[in-house]
Amino acid sequence: MKPSLQLLDYSILQQCMHCGMCLPACPTYDATKKERHSPRGRISLMRAVADDELKISPAFADEMSYCLGCLACQTACPAGVDYSNLLETARAEVQSAGLNQTFTSRFWRAVTIRGLFMRPRLLRFAGRLLWLYQRLGLQTAFRMIGLTKLLPKDLRRLEPQCPTIATKFSPQLIRPVESPAKKQHRVALLTGCVQDLVFADINRDTADVLLANGCEVHTPPVQPCCGSLHAHNGEADAAKTLAKRMIDLFPPSQFDAIITNAGGCGNHLRHYGSLLAEDPVYAPLAKLWDAKLRDIHEWMMEHGCRAPQAGLGDLTVTYHDSCHLTHGQKVTQQPRDLLKLIPGLRLVELPEANWCCGSAGIYNITQPEQSEQLLVRKIGHVLGTGATVLATANPGCHLQIARGLRQAGSAVTLLQPVTLLARAYRKEKMTESMTA
């Protein structure tokens, strides 16, 4: 059965009492001051569809695509409206109505969502090709002879900042099982897709932080995509298939926790229970899965993360909340507390820390203008803090903000909290072995 607004439990729509408290939190309302571009407005359009007062139209499809899916509205909403569920249902309905915006966005959907992100090995292979292209200097050559000018405009804008693909992917950096000196917990580590391609070293850092805190880390070399991109973009069936593959690979009963270090994936990974609620075999497993799933920062603070004995020198750091970590998973304080454990590190608050940076999944490809405005706003705040390091915990934000910093010619370094912590533990080890 195709997901649809008319079949959705009506009380989810009705839960919105149209109070408007979400409006000031919504970046697209802030940019336009039009109700249609607000959470309340979008919900009213969905309700009109459910009530058969409005047909799924190109304008409706555009509106659902213009939404960042940042879920800031969910944090602001006093009534606990499940906006994420509504948006996914609406997008799925747009998808099945075959009303799918522009050529570029169709192209990207086909390449990414239906192709690469369904097949982990293929994704790594594509990553490897991209890496070769970058390594062999073709990138520079193409740019010099102006070949990249032939790309459509949106792609051209992104191409110079196309993430540099990591030299090694996670399986080359992390063994399938790694054990600490004194084992207290047994955990699974999810390596993610973008995280694995671009930031495999961050997966290594995550493993190190876990090991330094008594966790035996299980990291199978080939892992399926979690399905979040699919669910957020209206591909519900694919999302379900991927969720089942994930549960098969990591039977939740065998672990104390299943760890994710990417905010966007984590938010989706926590909801396998509702995604697979109708599935007779997987429903109970999915429920257990949800209960075991932890964001890395959350898990560390839950178990009293050990403060490293060595610091990284005097460091002024500011922190950007990834939308899906803070609004989706409600993990807001833990990454900050984790950073504060590092000796010598001074944390300064970033103004509008939880305002979307415009990355939002593939939003920076499908809605380039709005995405760019949000990025410029974010960079302005970052530079205003005077920090030398910006910490954030989501690969999408990481790529987007790094691009913005480069564009602004800034020297601010972008690192993830686990990287800083892992470096401090390494420093500690070095100091120990030197004194020994």
Partner: protein, 461 residues
Amino acid sequence: MPSPDPAVLARLRAIVGEAHVLTSPEDTIPYGFDGTAALKGPAGVVVLPGSTAEVSAVVRLACELNVPIVTRGSGTGLSGGSVPSEGCLVLCLTRLDKVISVDAANLTVRAQCGAITAAIDAAANKHGLFYPPDPGSMKISTIGGNVAENSGGLRGLKYGVTRDYVMGLEVVLPDGRIAHFGNACVKDVAGYSMKDLFIGSEGTLGIITEVLLKVVPRPAARRTMLASYDRMEDAAQTVSDIIAAKIIPCTLEFLDRMTIGCVEDYAKIGLPRDCAALLLMETDGHPSAVADEAEQMLALARARGARDVRVARDEAEALRLASARRSAFSALARVRPTTILEDVTVPRDKLAEMVSFVAEVAKKHRLLVGTFGHMGDGNLHPTFLTDERNTDEMARVHEALEEIVTKTLALGGTITGEHGVGLAKKAWLRRQVGEHSHDLMREIKRAWDPRNLLNPGKIFD
């Protein structure tokens, strides 16, 4: 406007610009309601003007064509004031959102009507000043909407309501003329106080385009405490004792048993679920006066049998204690799909009686009702947790409301303390104010707006 005439649309576009006239269903459906449960209407055309001159030009055009205008701020109203009526043009003022200036010498702030309430206080704050009216919606409500509803907030007892801060208004009249009322003088008795007529007029007499507001010095200190009681009467009596001791606290807010349970389910603050009332008390002002008053309030609460009084040691703890009250509405709103927030108000000494009456009525009609509100000014918010699709339950809600209104009026109270009459309460207005007063209100409206073009059908038919 039912099927907008292309020639008319072209004229509207010529006034406000192409992008600011909305007609497609995807654009207008989101303007079909405000914050009031179960009310909606068709917003045929939505116009978003960018200046007072544009507002005036739109009103002139509407006047020429005999098209009614429903003025809208952020649409957070709780009485249906900005719900569109058949064939109307919705005039949405959110683009007029500038805080124009802060005058620290005369203690005033000048702002456009669409400025957000919280932004006005933030602008005042930069000069060490304070705009006290703080409706729960202040992060998004517009100052124009606040003036049109004469909104209150949590600080009513000590600081009053929106009316107490309006010094001047710029208003577009029903025929499009632009008029100015009031000024920056503290004293002004030249003629009728016309601005007062517009405060609380709910968009029926004119369109407020600019406001001149009074601000006050920001209080230097504040103390917060939270007391729990086994009987609502004891909480209410504590409030009377405090006032009799010549203390005017800035906040005296209460939660009833049902609300306490919901807040605890939702926020897990560690509130005692078995107590009948929680009273949040705050005093602000000069640090030494605040310390002194806080001590007296603590003693008075204990003397009235408060089971436990928690006094905040610092700002963080103050926020934690206040969050019990702040999350009341959120906690209740999650329980059922439809939340109906009422705001009957009674003289302060009748509040405890009214709260227990509401609880009895809820029980009698088998309804879930949580009551919280402003104990200092007798304003309660009985909040019905229901489901608008359940017709049987909705019928019981209406019966219960009828009984609550009757009791309120018998106690010398009012059907609305701060949300306005709009559509939701117009059936009861005549009963409360009496026929002469009601007739006079309608005569004023008729004289002012003879063709009934501004927000027709609101306040009275």
